[in-house]
């Protein structure tokens, strides 16, 4: 029998108990979480063999720049098929993972540095972005993850930086002369870095800072920005384009950065990563994720301090989360995202060979396929983002069907203990026991508030 602390470790920090996991956690819930914090998070075996973003983007851009319509279509179909395979592999990896806290952190940071298929062209490379820019850094330094994410060709495409030209750069001047454009700078990425990725919307920056950061980042692009007759070969990697870069010193948040080409952006990101507002912003989001939709100020301050003291060491920050008293005070303060619900339902029932119709189909019904967040802000992290009438009904419908397809050897009483034993309410226990059939009982366990929360 689990206790409340094990339940919190397995569900709030993990992705719901997998068979046998509760026993492993029980003696030392905090230690179980902490043991998963390794400096280098290993990529799950399920994701081995999927192509790099460089290869995927090279194929996309080559077809776009050089290919005819049929080539583009064939390439696109092939790459999208591959992406769907990777989305399923990713779900299976999270269902089978022995380090669910690490996988939860992948989800958290991937959402923090959202890239989305709303930018259709680069969609096939989105899972690769997560593999390359997020996974290696979840327990590394925030500053390194920030650079890896922002400099990634997928991010530079998603937030339009690859086509941002300094007004006084050679390319910008040409553009202004030939097309009469008055504005060649694209502020999109710069704004989101300040508002979403680092300082936060109330982090103390101005519109002027946004423009200055946009200038700093001019020239950060990738090997797909080519005209039809360009001499340089198309490729899928990062590329600094000196001809796009705004020359001269830039002043941002009161500090002046001398002209330094490619390295200017690295210097600014390095400072932003260590800014107290960034610490506060990241701490707020983490505490919201691990404590409560309304993050208590003292817990936020504590995590922000760990962030600053450790120079953004996310291993230290993660340990700090485990040590928060507030984490262990309430068993069910959060609601699972649709993705977490799907993953945890598979984990708790031992379904480690998840099928498309039980992963991607319901996620499509929930309007929550991975990498399809509606905006760069990513998915929300409050109960009301997940439990609306229609969404709840779709959850129930899927859970009812899913329960009907499970092996009949799954015993409702035992599943109830395994899934929600330490927190089950009298109502839930009563109505599960009254369920008219075994699979209805399992559906009720999985549809219970206790299982849909964490």
């Amino acid at each position: 029998m689990q206790d409340i602390a094990s339940f919190i470790a397995l569900n709030r920090f993990g992705l719901g108990p997998a068979p046998g996991e509760a026993e492993a956690v029980m003696s030392d819930p905090r230690g179980w979480i902490a043991a998963q914090i390794a400096l280098r998070h290993r990529e799950p075996a399920e994701l081995a063999g999927f192509e790099s973003s460089e290869a995927i983007l090279a194929a996309i851009h080559t077809a776009r720049v050089k290919g005819d319509r049929d080539t583009r279509k064939t390439t696109n179909t092939m790459l999208r098929k591959r992406m769907v395979q990777e989305l399923l592999a990713r779900a299976r990896a999270m269902i089978a993972t022995p380090v669910p806290f690490a996988e939860r952190m992948v989800l958290f940071w991937s959402n923090h540095f959202t890239v989305s298929a709303t930018k259709g062209l680069i969609a096939p490379a989105l899972p690769a972005y997560e593999r390359e820019a997020i996974r290696p850094h979840i327990f590394g330094r925030f500053s390194e993850m920030l650079v890896a994410a922002i400099r990634h060709p997928v991010m530079l495409s998603y937030l339009d930086n690859a086509v941002s030209l300094g007004e006084n750069s050679p390319a910008g001047q040409r553009r202004r002369q030939t097309r009469g454009s008055t504005k060649t700078l694209n502020e999109n990425l710069a704004r989101e870095i300040l508002e979403l990725h680092t300082l936060g919307v109330n982090g103390g920056y101005t519109q002027a800072d946004v423009i200055e950061l946009a200038k700093v980042l001019t020239g950060w692009g990738h090997g797909g920005v080519r005209g039809r007759n360009a001499m340089r070969p198309v490729h899928g990697g990062f590329e600094f384009r000196p001809g796009f870069h705004e020359p001269g010193p830039k002043t941002l948040l009161g500090r002046t950065y001398p002209e330094d080409g490619d390295r200017e952006g690295l210097a600014v990101l390095s400072d932003l990563a260590r800014h107290p507002s960034t610490a506060q912003h990241i701490a707020t989001k983490l505490v919201r994720h691990f404590v409560s939709d309304d993050p208590p100020a003292d817990a936020v301050d504590r995590i922000a301090q760990v962030f600053l003291d450790s120079d953004g060491d996310l291993a230290e920050v993660s340990r700090g989360l485990i040590e928060l008293d507030a984490v262990w005070a309430e068993p069910l303060p959060k609601v699972k995202t649709h993705y977490e619900l799907v993953i945890s339902a598979h984990r708790v029932t031992g379904e480690d060979q998840a099928r498309r119709r039980d992963v991607l189909q319901p996620l499509r019904e929930f309007d929550h396929l991975p990498f399809t967040a509606p905006s760069p802000a990513g998915w929300g992290d409050r109960a009301t983002d997940w439990i609306a009438p229609e969404a709840l009904m779709r959850r129930i419908e899927w859970l009812r069907r899913f329960s009907g397809s499970l092996p009949a050897t799954l015993y409702p009483d035992q599943l109830l203990d395994q899934a929600i034993g330490p927190v089950v309410s009298d109502d839930t226990r009563l109505w599960v026991s009254r369920a008219p059939s075994g699979d209805a009982a399992i559906a009720m366990i999985l549809a219970s508030p206790e299982f849909q929360r964490r």
């Binding site: 997998a18 068979p19 046998g20 996991e21 492993a24 089978a96 022995p98 609601v335 031992g350 480690d352 189909q361 319901p362 019904e365 109960a383 009301t384 439990i387 609306a388 009438p389 229609e390 969404a391 709840l392 009904m393 779709r394 129930i396 419908e397 899927w398 009812r400 069907r401 009907g404 397809s405 092996p407 009949a408 050897t409 799954l410 015993y411 409702p412 035992q414 395994q418 309410s425 109502d427 839930t428 109505w431 599960v432 009254r434 369920a435 008219p436 059939s437 075994g438 699979d439 209805a440 009982a441 559906a443 009720m444 549809a447 219970s448 508030p449 849909q452």
Partner: protein
């Protein structure tokens, strides 16, 4: 890594291997006969479907909800033999009885002797004699003896394949939606379960509109929609089974039989669905009806005495119904233990004098032509001591 299946493996008391996976080869017996199994989940009160209205013990034990021939055909029992009478909602089936196409086996049950829906249904479906004793269903194992693997004989109606049809033999399913709507009974139960959590309760309430929070169990009616779904399933079943190259064995399900309260009102509606469903099958199967057996079963029966909520609680001896042109009907079969105090099982339930397993064996051997050895080793292993019921088929 954790052992992924550790949890599942510890859940089963007995054999966990697929019973179908072992054993020697038997000759395939092709069949043109049709079998439709209708599983009434929740525990049908056999004494309400086929009431021993003339029995003084019945009147004594069921003073309020008992059916009475004198109450007239729209409220009481329709006498079949002066002792047993059909529930009035089953009146449309009386012509079938008179034509010899409908047969009742009262006081029937599986070998299960406790009172859990899950365990009782699981035992009925897996055929191993133990709840959770096999991970495939006996009807699926039977199909393995009927085809050479070249035709999908089984058909499941609804979004998922019930355990009784799960297993090595491929099974067709029919369902008309991507994410199936859940029935209102299930939503009503969730409403109860959610009542202490306003986030979930309000969302469900808004989503379902008409559902009101905190209703009593009296409100858990089965809706006309459930009836429509069932009749649609019957129509689809008949259509597919009638086809020359169609499936031969179908499983339909109907829930809502757990009538702890307000039994008469709820069974009136549900039994009406069953009657209409059987008539749909007969109409749709048309020329194939003569080769058809429809078998209606439930995981257990209910207490002989009524409770204080005009309902009945989980019991033991239930009922089985057989309909179809292949059935030697027009009668009430099996042994009837009676309702006297000494006759009752554990002083409360109808004694299960007729074994479902005997009925199932008879259906497999006499109606579908399965070899007895195959049935007793593969379908119902260890059932050799239980003889098949005699004389059920023409």
């Amino acid at each position: 890594m954790f052992s992924r299946r550790a949890f599942l493996q510890t859940t089963a008391g007995g054999v966990l291997t697929s019973l179908a996976a072992s054993g020697t080869a038997f000759a395939a017996a092709p069949t043109e006969n049709r079998l439709v199994l209708i599983f009434l989940r929740g525990g049908l009160d056999g004494l309400h479907a086929l009431a021993p209205f003339a029995d003084p013990d019945y009147r004594r034990l069921r003073p309020v909800i008992g059916l009475d021939q004198t109450a007239g055909e729209d409220r009481g029992a329709i006498s079949l033999d002066g002792y047993f009478g059909l529930h009035h909602a089953l009146a449309p089936l009386k012509p079938l009885f008179e034509d010899g196409e409908l047969l009742f086996i009262p006081a029937a049950s599986t070998s299960y002797r406790r009172r859990s829906h899950f365990d009782g249904q699981n035992l009925l479906e897996n055929g191993s004699g133990t709840p959770y004793g096999a991970r495939d269903g006996w009807l699926n194992r039977a199909i393995l003896g009927l085809n050479d693997g070249d035709r999908r004989l089984g058909l499941a109606l609804g979004p998922s394949v019930p355990l009784i049809l799960q297993g090595a033999a491929e099974v067709q399913t029919w369902d008309d939606s991507a994410l199936p709507q859940v029935d209102e009974d299930f939503l009503m139960r969730l409403t109860q379960m959610y009542r202490a959590d306003p986030l979930f309760l309000d969302a469900l309430h808004d989503a379902t509109g008409a559902l009101k929070p905190d209703v009593s169990m009296d409100g858990m009616d089965d809706t006309p929609r459930q009836g429509r779904n069932f009749l649609m399933a019957a129509r689809v079943t008949a259509d597919l089974l009638a086809h020359d190259h169609g499936p031969r064995i179908a499983v339909m399900e109907l829930g809502g039989w757990d009538t702890h309260f307000a039994q008469e009102r709820r069974l009136n509606r549900l039994l009406g669905f069953v009657a209409q469903g059987l008539l749909e099958l007969r109409t749709g199967l048309d020329g194939s009806w003569d080769r058809t057996t429809v078998m209606v079963v439930s995981e257990f029966g209910r207490t002989v005495a009524e409770n204080a909520s005009q309902g009945t609680d989980h019991g033991t001896g239930g009922i089985a119904m057989l309909a179809g042109g292949a059935v030697k009907g027009g009668r009430i079969a099996g042994n009837w233990p009676g309702l006297s105090p000494n006759a009752l099982w554990e002083e409360r339930d109808l004694r299960p004098t007729n074994a479902y397993e005997s009925l199932f064996k008879s259906v497999l051997m006499s109606h579908l032509g399965l070899d007895q050895g195959f049935v007793e080793t593969r379908v119902f292993p260890g059932s050799a001591g239980l003889s098949p019921m005699d004389g059920l088929f023409r």
